[in-house]
Symmetry: C3
Subunit: 358 residues, 3 copies
């Protein structure tokens, strides 16, 4: 598949100059680009690479001298990463799944699958499942009884959609993701040690030997539109009501979302983030890799937490967090500076102490 | 399926009042409950919700005025979460798997599957596998050669039970869990940098370029009764002897248990906990989300570790831990307080220092 | 299957004494060894176990008095763990997969599968896939269009090899691993809050409500020879060029490798390590469990990072790191000591302060 420079520019809503009829078959970094590939050099520091590669056309920063760079055509991208979104979308072939339902799949007769679906081998689709138009479901996916998925879903290999889960339109699910596992909720006959130390902040009276009884999950998971779930990520079902993921929110690989959690709209939960049960995450929250959120707390709208932050208490809207335990990013920076100076501080105090004794 | 109030109360061993013949079809939060649903309001702060919803019956805190709340019947739960266990168990429909072995499964003729089994499509069961009575095995599960699983197992979609793994009765396995992956164990021809810095606490002599040779895992995994393993959790097999998980222990999603690890009875390992190779965890240990345990150490009975705690050294029985590195919870709280005051302390020392120079 | 003592010694390149014709069927810890098992006692502290067990032969430390230990034969291992590598390799039966392609698999006619392959049930192999000789592919594995895998691969249950992924010889892939999920890369129309706080180190002007647009991943993943990927680990494809894993590198369970990341040769990434997008990891780097690496930084050759270390900035070659944020291991130890003394330091300053006021 090839694209004209004019077509790409139109798709990006960007200006183009030179031979607009020139065709490219793909995109590449400037130094690696072949003669039929579009070089991506949205920043002047990538200019050198163009001479090293063989590209005849490139996406460049605004005002770049494309003729001087030896190119036949150029597209100008005022915000490079945004241009990348349009460009990569245009060139992504998507998963290779034959149209229709593969004969080595098991689809319950009561399931409703929208027009234009492509269902790969070894897929199971349970009783009363409803899937919207144009679904692409890759090999080994299971979609359990009563699940409902909107239009234009792309579900990759081995993803697990649990019973009674509800998902909006334009859903993207990476391989191995599990949506609708049971919540991790157990109770002891008498008060447990965990309940005790939460009240006492760490002190325990007599330790009683007890076993755990399971609280089953009767709720499911409700997911909005335009949501993406990463590879091997897990979202537990709610105990009574559904666990919720708002529209526009994206989860990266290996993210864990506990039972009853509510995640708002347009959030990013990066790799290996963990949200404990019944936490509430606002809208547009960004949690960097390996962040942890305690159970039963809230994280306000627009909070941003840096990598590895462990959030134990409610976080007000707009706060920028870092550290274990989480503090304001500027406080974290101050504390770290003070820590580096701590040995010197101790030495000074010793000296003063000796002086005071003189 | 519907249940009489009297049946539910009997199942919970709880008192009930009002119209005990009233039937409910499910449970809901008070404000969301429909007229045929049982409202769950085990705490007075949920009382307001009952008026907002349409429930005619509720589970209430002891002594609640159910008539005043406009209800026709009430069940009284002295320990609300314990009532939840009985109630949700009663109402959980479980996975929808047809009885018998689905024709699109591959079951080795030497495998023994107990009476009452339900085996879904695309399941593989290997040579000499033994599975107890009433097993429910969902789609895409693999159970490899020589594995033995007790009675009443529920194994969800895509779980992987490895060769020669032994599991007790009433096993629950969430989707995508892997039990019996190979241990992560490699050795270099000469002493490695890791071995060196463990001896020197961080100092390295000459760095030698070496490659890793694999130590294969000849052991398997042995799991007791009443164990639950979370979605996409992983348990490695032992090198020579089996990795062990004691009866009554529950693992949450994405937990990692390394080779040769021994976990005791009635433990809770919450989301994304990681236990490195050959660590030994006692009984009734609770590790909150994202806790890490170093290799080759022990964590004593009844230890509780808060979220994100990194345990590097042996932890005595009954200890409550927090922090990176783990310290007693009360020490952690003290250190955090002192850290917040550190900039002020430094300023005071500077002032004293200036005074001393006067 | 049984092995003569002489055969085992030859395979290990080790000395042996006693009845070299004696046969053993497996290996065991000394106290658990049966009469036909080889006891593993490479260290004098395991000597006592031999008397408790029934082994007639053992692997012992150099110079051990095997006759005095009541044995009929002994193999001497100067570096015990290295002997374990050879021994366990010899005794590992590997996964039980029948030769040839199972009829309940779906292999595209254009795929090329090398001689000696064993392909289990419910495997899918896509268009134009190339797999080298002697591949063993377990149940439920998906290998998507255009993937290329070298000779002697062992791929366990339910692993997902994505489209256009390239892998070298002697590849080992544990169950549920995902190689070639899409990168987690999103962009907002205007500058996002994350971009802003990276420039300002935490300060935000006006918060703008924006949604995320997806940058698709056109690159794939390139993996060298002798690589092992752990259970449920995830490696994202690159945006334009491939994400790269060098020869000899081993990834443990639940490791996350983001898009565009380059990992060098002979590295060990232990359980639950996370590498954010576009980070570059050198050769022979060892990252212990739960380590995190920030996006777009480099970690130099031979770096070793202890458990839970969070690396936010470039790390020079050979550095030994610990802590959140990562510092030199010796600095971390100093800071921790100072922290323990901090309450006492504060008390001393208060006393000096009172003295100064007198």
């Amino acid at each position: 598949m090839s694209h004209k420079i004019s077509e790409i520019a139109a798709a990006l809503g960007a200006e183009a100059e030179g031979d607009l009829e020139l065709r490219v078959t793909g995109a590449a970094e400037p130094q690696a680009a072949g003669p039929d590939q579009l070089a991506l050099a949205m920043d002047p520091r990538y200019a050198d690479g163009i001479a090293k590669g063989q590209a005849q056309a490139a996406v460049l920063w605004p005002g770049a001298d494309w003729r001087g760079l030896g190119l036949k055509a150029a597209i100008f991208a005022p915000r490079g990463r945004l241009a990348m979104a349009g460009l990569t979308r245009m060139m992504d072939p998507g998963p290779d799944i034959a149209p229709g339902v593969h004969p080595m799949s098991v689809v319950d007769p009561s399931a409703q699958i929208g027009a234009g679906a492509a269902i790969a081998p070894f897929v199971t689709i349970g009783r009363d499942v409803v899937i919207g138009a144009n679904a692409r479901v890759a090999a080994h996916v299971s979609i359990a009884e009563g699940a409902r998925i909107g239009a234009d879903a792309v579900i990759f290999q081995g993803a697990r959609i649990g019973a009674r889960v509800t998902i909006g339109d334009r859903f993207t699910c990476q391989p191995g993701a599990v949506i609708g596992s049971d919540g991790f909720s157990f109770v002891t006959p008498e008060k447990s040690g965990v309940e005790e130390i939460r009240e006492t902040l760490g002190t325990r009276a007599e330790i009683v030997q007890q076993s755990w009884t399971r609280i089953h999950s009767l709720g499911a998971v409700t997911i909005g539109d335009d949501v993406e779930i990463g590879a091997n990520a897990c979202i537990d079902r709610g105990t009574i009501r559904d666990t919720q993921i708002g529209s526009g929110t994206k989860l990266d690989n290996l993210v864990h979302v506990g039972h009853n959690v509510q995640v708002g709209k347009d959030c990013l939960l990066c790799g290996q983030v963990g949200i404990a049960g019944s936490a509430k995450i606002g809208n547009r929250v960004v949690l960097a890799g390996q962040v942890g959120v305690n159970d039963n707390i809230f994280v306000g709208d627009d909070v941003i937490a840096g990598g590895g932050t462990k959030i134990f208490t409610n976080a007000p809207a707009g706060r920028v967090l870092l550290g274990y335990p989480a503090v304001k990013m500027e406080t974290h920076v101050e504390i770290q500076k003070a820590l580096r100076r701590l040995p010197r501080l101790a030495a000074k105090v010793s000296a003063l102490d000796r002086g005071a004794e003189d």
